[in-house]
Symmetry: C2
Subunit: 348 residues, 2 copies
Amino acid sequence: MAELQNDLFLRACKRLPVERTPIWVMRQAGRYLPEYRAVRQKYDFLTMCKTPELVAEVTLQPIDLIGVDAAIIFSDILVIPEAMGMHLEMHEGRGPVFPHPIRNEGDAKNLKKIDPTVDLKYVLDAVALTKKELNQRVPLIGFSGSPWTLLAYMVEGQGSKNFAKVKHLIYNNPKLAHSLLEKIADAAGAYLCAKIEAGADAVQIFDTWGGLLSQDDFEEFSLQYISKIISQVKGKDVPVIMFAKGVHYHLETLAASGADVLGLDWTMNIGDVRKNVGDKVALQGNLDPTVLYAGHEKIRDEAGKILKSFGKGSGHIFNLGHGILPDVPPENLKALVDFVKAESGRYH
Amino acid sequence: MAELQNDLFLRACKRLPVERTPIWVMRQAGRYLPEYRAVRQKYDFLTMCKTPELVAEVTLQPIDLIGVDAAIIFSDILVIPEAMGMHLEMHEGRGPVFPHPIRNEGDAKNLKKIDPTVDLKYVLDAVALTKKELNQRVPLIGFSGSPWTLLAYMVEGQGSKNFAKVKHLIYNNPKLAHSLLEKIADAAGAYLCAKIEAGADAVQIFDTWGGLLSQDDFEEFSLQYISKIISQVKGKDVPVIMFAKGVHYHLETLAASGADVLGLDWTMNIGDVRKNVGDKVALQGNLDPTVLYAGHEKIRDEAGKILKSFGKGSGHIFNLGHGILPDVPPENLKALVDFVKAESGRYH
C-alpha cells in the first residue's frame, strides 16, 4: 500500500517532529454539514451506520470539504451494546434509546459475548472501504465508548441528567456492575483490535460520562476497564487516544494508563496539563465547541491562545474540547482549520 | 435576641474550633420530603416562593425532620430576573421557563433596576418570618445565583445542554453581555445585603453554570462579577459561601476572592483542595448526591471517607456536592446526617 500522504496526526500522536500542528474535530462527520444532512435525509441513522458505502461517504466529507488532517469512521458508540443483543432505537430529537435497559441479573444474562468479526462485521467492512476510498490521503481513526460510558447508556436506556439508575446499580449491586463492565471491556477491546486489523490507523476511547463519577468511583468503575482495553489494544502498535470528558482530576493517572494521547475538554488549560504530563503523552484539544458560534476573528483569537498555551514542540493535536455542535456554520470550522494550518508552523 | 443554640455552621465557616463537623445539604427544603410535597400539592412553586408563611414552613421541615445544622431559605435563584421584569413560568417536569428571553439590546433595555426592599420584599419578609420561627435553633442561609448563571437562564429562557444562545451572546456581543452582567451583579449584591439585613446569618452564591466556561471565559464573564458581589456583601460581616459547580481549575482564585467558604462538587478531592487552599477558606461538601441512593452502610462509608480526607481541624461544613435529588428516600439523608454528627467529633 502507498505511504500516507499526510501523516502529521500520527506523528503528533507519537510526539515526533511535525511541520505544523495537525487538526481534526470530534463529530466532524456530522449534522453541521449540509452534505451530511442530505445523506441522512434519505436513510435513518442506524441504516447509515450499517451501510459501508454510506459510512465511507460521510466519513470522507470533512476531509474533502474542510480539510482536516485525520478521518474518523462514522459510527456510534452504541453499536457494541446493540451487537450484544440490546434493541436500539434512534429517536429524532431525543437521541438513542434502549427500550429494554439492563437493570438486573436476568437482563444481564441476555447479553451475549460478541465476536466483532461476525457481530460487528458491518463496521469492519466500513473501515476497510473507507480506508480504501481515503486512498492514503489522511489516517483513519476508529473508536469505542469506554465500558463505564456504555454501561451508563445500557442501564439508563437513554441519556440522563443525573444517571440515577446506573449510580443505583454501582452502589447497590457493585458485583453485577463489575461483571457487566468486564463483559463490555472484553467486547470493546476485541472491537478496537478488529477495527485496527480492518485498517484503522489509530483508535480513540470516549469516556463521555467519566466525569459524573467521584475520583474513587472513577478508578473503580471506569479507569480499570479503560486500562484493560488499552493493554489489549497496545499490542497492535497504533496510537491510542483517551478522552475522558470532565475527568480533570485523574490526568496523571490517565497519562500513565498506556494511552499515547490524552484528549482534553475545554475547561482544562492545555499548557498547564502539558507541564504536568506532557512528557508522557501527546495532548489533543481543546477549543470550547461553542467558540465556533463566534465570528472568524474571535475563532482565530481563541485558537491562537491554545496553540500558544501548548507552546513549541510536537505532541499537540488540535481539536475541540467536545464534539462539534450541529448548528455550527461549516465555514466557521473551515476558518478554524485554515488558521491552525497557517499559524501553527511557528511552534514547530 | 437570644443567642444561637447551634452555631457550629457559623463557627466552621470562620474556621473556628467546633466540637463536630456541621452538616446541611443543598435543596434540603425540597421534593424528596413528603412533607414538602404535601405543601407543594396545594400551591404552585412561585406562590410558595412568594408566601412567607409557606416559605417558613418548608424551610423549617429539614431542621425538624432531618436535624441539619443550618436552614437555607426556600426560594429560587430566578426571583431576581423576575423582579427585573422577566415573566417567569414554572413548567412541571420541564423546570423554569422565561417565555421572553433576553437576546438583544432591546430586550435588555426592558430590564429594570431593582430595589430589593420593594421588588423582592416578599423574600425579605420570608427571611424575617423564618428567622423568627427558627427561634435561634440554627443559623439561616440566604442565597443568590451568580450573575453568569442568572444571565445563562435569562438568555436561554430555560435550562440547556450546550447553552448555545448565551455563548453566542458572549462571543458575538460581549459588550451587551458585560452590561447585563453588571446590572445583574448590582441586583444580586443589593439582594444579598437586604437578605442579611432581614436576618440571614450567611449567604451562598451559586454559580451552577460556571463550569461550562473555559478558564479565560470564567474569569471574564463570571469571576469578576462574583468578586464584585462578594466585596459588596463582605461589609455586612456574615460568612459568604461560593459554590461554582465544575470550576475545578480556579479554586485558588476563588479562594482569594474574599469568600469565607468554597463549596466543592463531588469530583474534587476535599483533602487535596484543603492542602492547596485550606489556609484561606473553609470548605463545604462534597458527597456525590447519588450516594444517597445507596444503602446506609455505603452512605456511611462514603461520608467517612470525606471526613477522613478533610482530616482533623475546623473549616469543614459537610454537604453534598450538588443538590439532593428529588427521589432520594429521606431516611437516607437522615442516616447521613446522623453519621456525620456521631462520627465527626473525632476530627475535632
